[in-house]
C-alpha cells in the first residue's frame, strides 16, 4: 500500500489545505499586522540575523545525516557542502557556490564509484 492509499484523498487534501492556509498566514503575519508602522531598533537588530539564524540550522542535519545514505555521514556530500561554503565565502556569489558544490558532489561520487 502506498503512502497516499494509507491516508486517503480527504486526509491528503486536509493536510495540503491546512499547510497552505497556515503557511500563508505565517508569511502574511507581520506584513498584515504591522503595516507601515516602523519596528523598534531592537527588533530590527534581531531581524538582521533571521536568515543566518534559520538556514544553517535547517541545513546542518541534512549535511551530516543525509536521508539518501540512511542517515550515515557521506564523504561526497560532506565535501560538496564544504566546497559550496568555501566558494560562496570566496566569491560572495550564490551561483558560483552552487556550481562548485554540485561539481564537487558529482566529482567525488564518480571518484568513489
Amino acid at each position: 500500500m502506498t503512502t497516499a492509499e494509507t491516508y486517503g484523498a480527504p486526509a491528503i487534501w486536509l493536510i495540503i489545505l491546512a499547510l497552505g492556509v497556515g503557511t500563508f498566514f505565517l508569511r502574511y503575519s507581520f506584513l498584515g499586522l504591522i503595516g507601515d508602522r516602523p519596528l523598534p531598533e531592537w527588533a530590527l537588530r534581531y531581524l538582521r540575523y533571521t536568515a543566518v539564524a534559520v538556514l544553517p540550522g535547517l541545513v546542518a542535519p541534512l549535511v551530516l545525516w543525509p536521508d539518501a545514505t540512511g542517515g550515515q555521514p557521506d564523504p561526497a556530500r560532506l565535501a560538496a557542502a564544504a566546497a559550496t561554503v568555501g566558494v560562496g565565502l570566496a566569491t560572495r556569489n550564490t551561483l558560483a557556490a552552487i556550481i562548485g558544490g554540485l561539481a564537487t558532489l558529482y566529482g567525488v561520487l564518480w571518484l568513489l564509484g
Binding site: 502506498t2 503512502t3 497516499a4 494509507t6 491516508y7 486526509a11 487534501w13 493536510i15 495540503i16 489545505l17 491546512a18 499547510l19 497552505g20 497556515g22 503557511t23 505565517l26 508569511r27 502574511y28 503575519s29 507581520f30 506584513l31 498584515g32 504591522i34 519596528l39 531592537w42 527588533a43 537588530r45 531581524l47 538582521r48 540575523y49 533571521t50 536568515a51 543566518v52 539564524a53 534559520v54 544553517p56 540550522g57 535547517l58 541545513v59 546542518a60 542535519p61 541534512l62 543525509p66 536521508d67 539518501a68 561526497a76 560538496a80 557542502a81 559550496t84 560562496g88 565565502l89 560572495r92 556569489n93 550564490t94 551561483l95 557556490a97 552552487i98 556550481i99 558544490g101 558532489l105
Partner: protein, 248 residues
C-alpha cells in the same frame, strides 16, 4: 523643490523598470537550484503515490519546499495527520520572521499587494529582497515591489513547472544523480554570502550547533529554538562589538 530625486518618479519610472530587471537578473541563478528542488519534490510525491493534482496542490498552495518535503517524509513514516500538519508548519515558522523583516519595506503597500508578497515569500525571494532593500533602503515602495516581482519571475513559475516535470518523470531519474543533495547545496550557497560580519558568523554557528543538539525534538521544533537562540546571539554580539568600539 530642486532636489527632486528619481526615487519618486511615477508608476512606470525608470527606477521601477531598473528594479524589476535587477530582480529578474539576481533571481536567475536560482533557476539552477529551484529546478532540481521542484523536480525532486515531484519525484518524491509520485513515489509516495500522490496523484498529479495532489502533488501540484502542495507546490501551488503551500509553495514552501522544506515543509512540503517534511510533510511527505512524515507521511511516509505514517505520522498522524495532525502531527504532519503541525511539524510541517513549524518548519515554516521562519517565514513569520521573514514577514517581520520585510514589513518595514513593503508594509505601506495595499493589502492585496502584501498578500501577493506573502504568497510568494519563498526562501530565495526573501533572501534576495532582504539583501536588496538593505543595500538600497531609500528605494521607493514601487521600486521595492518591482524588484520583488522581478525576483519571483524566474523562481515561482519554475517551482510549479519543475514539480510537474518531476511528478510526470517519476522514477525515471536514477538515484546516481544525488538530487537529494541539491537542497542542502541550495541552502549553503544562500548562507555563505550572508556571513559578512562577526555577529553573522556567531549566529550561524549557534544555529548549527543548537539545531544538531536539539535534533531529537519533534521535527521542526529544535530548529525554531535554535533559530531564536542564534538571532539573540547575533544581536547581542552586534551590541557588544558596538559598545567595545564606543569605549575605544
Amino acid at each position: 523643490m530642486t532636489h527632486a530625486t528619481p526615487q519618486h518618479t511615477g508608476p512606470t519610472g525608470p527606477e521601477t523598470t531598473t528594479a524589476f530587471w535587477r530582480g529578474v537578473r539576481q533571481g536567475l541563478p536560482f533557476v539552477l537550484v529551484i529546478a532540481p528542488f521542484g523536480l525532486l519534490f515531484g519525484v518524491a510525491g509520485n513515489e509516495a503515490g500522490f496523484d498529479l493534482l495532489e502533488v501540484m496542490g502542495f507546490s501551488v498552495l503551500v509553495i514552501a519546499g522544506a515543509s512540503q518535503f517534511t510533510a511527505v517524509q512524515l507521511m511516509n513514516d505514517h505520522a498522524s495527520t495532525v502531527m504532519v500538519i503541525l511539524a510541517s508548519l513549524a518548519v515554516n515558522l521562519r517565514m513569520a520572521m521573514y514577514s517581520a523583516s520585510l514589513a518595514p519595506h513593503v508594509g505601506p503597500a495595499p493589502a492585496w499587494q502584501r498578500a501577493l508578497v506573502a504568497y510568494s515569500m519563498v526562501d530565495q525571494v526573501f533572501a534576495l529582497a532582504d539583501s536588496d532593500y538593505r543595500l538600497a533602503p531609500k528605494q521607493s515602495l514601487r521600486a521595492k515591489l518591482a524588484y520583488y516581482t522581478g525576483a519571483c519571475v524566474p523562481i515561482v513559475p519554475l517551482w510549479y513547472g519543475s514539480t510537474l516535470a518531476g511528478a510526470l518523470l517519476g522514477k525515471a531519474i536514477p538515484p546516481a544523480f544525488a538530487l537529494d543533495f541539491a537542497v542542502p547545496v541550495t541552502f549553503l550557497a544562500m548562507i555563505a554570502p550572508l556571513l559578512r560580519s562577526i555577529p553573522h558568523l556567531v549566529a550561524a554557528a549557534v544555529s548549527v550547533i543548537m539545531a544538531l543538539v536539539l535534533a531529537f525534538l519533534p521535527a521542526g521544533t529544535g530548529l525554531i529554538v535554535a533559530a531564536v537562540l542564534a538571532m539573540a546571539a547575533g544581536a547581542q554580539t552586534e551590541l557588544w562589538l558596538a559598545r567595545r568600539r564606543a569605549q575605544q
